[in-house]
Symmetry: C2
Subunit: 686 residues, 2 copies
């Protein structure tokens, strides 16, 4: 049985990619809008391509360096094969990101156009585009991994096939680093930069399109939410599959389960993809639906897919590793539940329908400082539920894992819990990637003077997108924590590290302190980068106003150089991510080589714990400020122009880089550090 | 030799207390100011007494509950004796706090009066007051501890005398919880509340003294900086002495060193007190000295005392545990150096003379949000050096400890490192407690229309106070981390916990995650509390303006009810600290009882690591905003009323509770949790 499962998984992926093609065709066949709408949409697309071209160039250089590092450092362990997997992981992730971005930036005007027919039509176009990204992420992720598995484990039957396959995961991490960190810096630099432009005292042209920062801002949404989030969850998905495989490839799990333990993760991931595809089919809403109904149209199928995938997992565990090991279903279930609780907590603390955001909005009436203090306070408290539920998932996984497969089963179970949370990645990304399309459609509808009803429809879509984005962020960080923990478990097994000596030796404790430090340093660098890139954008806008005659006056035929604006910001954003990016790779290598593998274990544990907490806090804090602002702009507490509004605006600007740059970047940080540690284990063992 | 050392230590303490009496007499014999100056000063003193009365009432109830808890939970281990030590620790800390506050609130007008004779005279009065607090903290701390030692170890010779003495440290912690957390909430609620009052649109009376929040704000400085910081460092000092004693009382250290290992910490602490007393004698400056010279007059003797104490430690280690164990001097030296590096880092990131604050001030020109993002970014990066230096101190301590006294010596060395950093606590607190006196003198000089030269002198004193406060904060958090680590080491030894099972069992990891969570939750609660208490103050001010006829118009003979303003804020502040306070006591007990002692070890390690990082970050972030504002108010970047000034004002208000409430509160949190864990070890052992 375990011999045909990888083939079946590959088949599922190919089928999913066929569905991707269908969705892409459907999305792109929708009617385009007026000339002005096309013009704006084309400018956004052009900007996105400018960004991605420059980014991919940097990725290529980075990947080349990594390939050399892997091939040389692991030369005695078939390092070139690991490097091969690394290249494949990189290419597949880039492919998924490109595909998603290609479609999403082409359907902005189409979605706005469809909005004039009603919310049902608009949702259809936006979601088809989102599903392209979502299913491509899941399909390409599992497909690439399965190909590696078939070559090195099944085909060549290498003793260290599982370690070689890890290269695929590191490739995913490298792309995620650029897409999420670089993209996160870019997207918030454009937001903050636009804010700076409008408050800089510059006189702005009446036609917003003549403002050179306008397109960059819309490009940022696509780059951050579509490509960034996609690469982030692609990485988590791959890591969650690869970690239990690495654990099952040796030790007690292999003795007990043989290759069945290796194929189980592939099977569960494939089932998750099937559930996701089915889920996407149920996303629809009636014309005339309000915001709530649109929201429901997206969330119900998401929960449905999760439920379906969970049921399927039960039978897969039963069928593949047998009824006597059915206890391994519990970790999977715990992973799903933890994901839901984390997502619900994010919603509670960041949605305008609940107390926290209301309180923050009220505080804004007392001034920006009070709103900021309040938001920070709620953000800190919002971490309680996620940590508690993750801790419960860890405890139950360890407990059942050790009971079902004796000592050593616990760490395999941690891997399964991460996989449980992530099995419906395809669906989660689909829903999330529809958000920026709605966002851009809203901008286009406003800028091109569509009728109020169409604007209203796109505005609803935009608001829904904010909530789904908060939920996806919750999943992203929760899954990052579990995936990193699973990799940590694999690392611990690979190094033979079991017990940390905390009183006889300094190494574990020292590692712990340093590991706890890294997420703070990383965040500090990311925040600094946003300020720098935003300042660069501001300067470029000022330069264009100064040097392009007639632009500020809004003369006909004079256009802002949007592409250059994007390019300048991209250059700074990607340049500024080099130090934090290098930190993610170098820090674990340094700790491992200088202080040894035991210290690195403490390092990873510390980094995952604080990283998870800090990222959740920053995401939720930023989200609550953003929605407090929205709440006030919706008319609460005096509405636009009130004292509360001024306060909330400032708080929101502070929150922007917290929730979309430094917060999500930490997801990548903890996964990258864990996978680097795992792959380079041979370097740390004396 | 080891038999007379405790007596000598007690003698040193008594001598120090005589010096305290002399300084108090000198400070109080200075000439008082004009009627108006006296009136303001008396109002501040009255407010401080209102605060302290209410606080002490809560402390009494809390302490009574703790006494019952200790006596019952530890009934089979002579719990009532531990409870007795607890009571003594509480009373001595309250005594030191009361003494310091009594004098500092009585010399405000005297310092302002002396300022008309020049900076030398003003510094003398302010510093004499500070030295009362500083030497009382150190003298009473060591004296109380030595009394407990003489009774239970020397007198009764109980087998668990060291554990019983820990009660004294827990008493110190309880007071610190109220003084630092409750006091921190109070002091920033008055600052933020005053800010709210002045921006609330209320018309304020021309005579600032008729503004009911004015006195509360000045009371806050005394309560936070004098009583709060004093209780904080009292607790650290006591914990740093008690931890190595607890470790040396059993295990390999006792076999090797016998009671010499117990008296060494007492001797080093006593030497530190002598060095501090000598240091206080050298604080003086010429009339006509500028701000820099005043600064030097305070810092040089501080470093001098630290150097002297280090040299004395060398000879004490040699004399008491012998030349062959002279290696134990290294941890002491590392502690001193780590303290200096942490203090210098704080200064670099928070002083207006260096790049970070300049950059933050520049960012303020782009708006408050940018200043806040920049400040957060620098705050996060400011943690690097402190963590690295603490990590080096841990590594060297462990390494030399294990080498000199074989395995097991490492944890004793950690205790000595903490003691090294803290030995000159007396001097550090003396310098720090002079700050708020200068601050209040400045306020009095301004409010009562002293001539510009006198105002200038007090203003310089105030500015110097900001820097010394930042340095003391660095010491407070650094020492809290090392003291908590030392207690952690003692805990590990007491539970026989040596190795953490991180792959076979979930308990250590789960504890680690929960421990890392607690500082965030605690901070979130503290920040919320500040907002609530500030709102209460705002309401009370509004009520007084509404209900006291003629107050707003500034009619003669109509006075604001300052005492009530203080009382209302105190009530909310102390009420709001109950939940975080209970968390500090209950969380470790719950983890220990429910998940066992191994989990609690992970919990403590996680809490100390994140707590140290988070507290340092919040302190430095807040400090950089405060001084960016000062820099601008000094005329940079457009000066008062500029766009940059408006931005910096908002950032400073956000930073106030970070640097003076939640940040320093974490110092207490990690020490309280560690000492609670250590004392209640019998509950967690099956």
């Amino acid at each position: 049985m375990s011999s045909w499962i990888p083939w079946a998984a590959a088949g599922v992926c190919v089928a999913a990619l066929v569905v991707v093609a269908v969705y892409a065709r459907l999305a792109l066949s929708a009617e385009r809008g007026s000339d002005r709408m096309r013009m704006i949409s084309d400018a956004i697309r052009g900007g996105a391509m400018t960004f991605i071209k420059r980014e991919y160039r940097y990725v290529a250089v980075f990947a080349a360096l990594m390939v050399v590092l892997i091939a040389v450092a692991l030369r005695s362990q078939n390092g070139w094969m690991t490097a091969l997997c690394y290249i494949l992981g990189t290419l597949f992730s880039l492919g998924a990101g490109f595909l998603g971005l290609y479609v999403s930036t082409r359907v902005n005007d189409r979605t706005a156009q469809a909005a004039s027919r009603g919310p049902g039509a608009a949702l259809k176009v936006a979601f088809h585009s989102g599903a392209v990204m979502g299913l491509a992420v899941a399909g390409l992720g599992l497909l690439g991994l399965t190909i590696c598995y078939l070559i090195f484990e099944v085909g060549l039957g290498l003793y260290n096939a599982a370690s070689i396959i890890l290269g695929f995961s590191l490739g995913a991490s490298s792309v995620a680093l650029f897409a999420r960190v670089g993209g996160g810096i870019f997207t918030k630099a454009t937001d903050v930069g636009s804010q700076l432009v409008s408050s800089s005292g510059e006189e702005l042209p009446a036609d917003e399109l003549k403002n050179p920062s306008m397109v960059a801002e819309n490009v940022g949404d696509n780059v951050g939410e579509v490509a960034g989030m996609g690469a982030d969850l692609y990485e988590s998905f791959v890591a969650a599959i690869v970690a239990p495989i690495a654990i099952a490839a040796s030790g007690v799990i292999f003795q007990k389960l043989g290759s069945r333990g290796l194929v189980l993760p592939l099977a569960i991931a494939a089932a998750g993809i099937v559930a996701s595809v089915l889920g996407t089919l149920f996303v629809r809403t009636k014309e005339g639906a309000d915001g709530r109904a649109v929201q429901r149209a997206l969330t119900l199928p998401t929960y449905g897919a999760a439920a379906l995938s969970t049921v399927a997992s039960f039978f897969l565990v039963w069928g593949i590793i047998g009824w006597k090991n059915i206890g391994m279903f519990w970790p999977l279930l715990m992973g799903v539940l933890a994901g839901c609780v984390i997502a619900m907590t994010s919603e509670y603390f960041t949605s305008a329908h609940y107390k926290p955001v209301e309180r923050v909005a009220e505080s804004a009436g007392l001034g920006p400082a009070i709103a900021i203090i309040r938001g920070l306070s709620f953000g800190m408290l919002s971490v309680i539920a996620p940590v508690v539920v993750v801790v419960i998932a860890i405890a139950i996984s360890f407990f059942t894992g050790n009971r079902v497969i004796h000592a050593g089963g616990g760490i395999y179970a941690i891997g399964l819990a991460a996989l449980g949370m992530l099995s419906t990645t395809g669906m989660i990304v689909s829903v999330d990637a529809a958000g920026p399309v709605g966002d851009n459609a809203f901008a286009i509808a406003e800028l091109s003077g569509l009728d109020t009803e169409a604007v209203e429809v796109t505005s609803n879509l935009n608001a829904v997108g904010n909530t789904t984005s908060a939920i996806a962020k919750g999943f992203a960080i929760g899954s990052a924590a579990l995936a990193a923990l699973a990799l940590f478990a694999a690392y611990a097994q690979a190094t033979g590290f079991t017990k940390a000596d905390v009183t006889g030796d300094y190494k574990f404790l020292v590692g712990l302190f340093l590991g706890a430090l890294v997420p703070f340093v990383f965040s500090g660098l990311a925040l600094n980068a946003v300020v720098r890139a935003a300042s660069a954008l501001l300067e470029e806008v000022k330069r264009q106003f100064r040097e392009i005659p007639g632009l500020r006056a809004g003369e006909k035929g004079v256009e802002a150089d949007h592409a250059r604006c994007v390019d300048v910001t991209t250059r700074v954003a990607v340049y500024e991510m080099l130090v934090p990016g290098a930190l993610a790779i170098v820090a674990p290598l340094l700790v491992g080589v200088l202080l040894g593998s035991g210290s690195l274990a403490g390092f990873l544990a510390g980094a995952v714990a604080t990283g998870f907490i800090l990222a959740t806090m920053m995401s939720n804090t930023g989200g609550s400020w953003a929605n407090a602002r929205k709440l006030i702009e919706g008319g609460a507490l005096g509405g636009k122009g009130s004292r509360a509004h001024a306060g909330a605006l400032i708080a929101d600007t502070v929150g922007d880089p917290l929730k979309d740059t430094s917060g999500p970047s930490i997801n990548i940080l903890i996964k990258v550090m864990a996978i680097v540690s795992l792959i380079f284990v041979p370097l740390f063992m004396k």
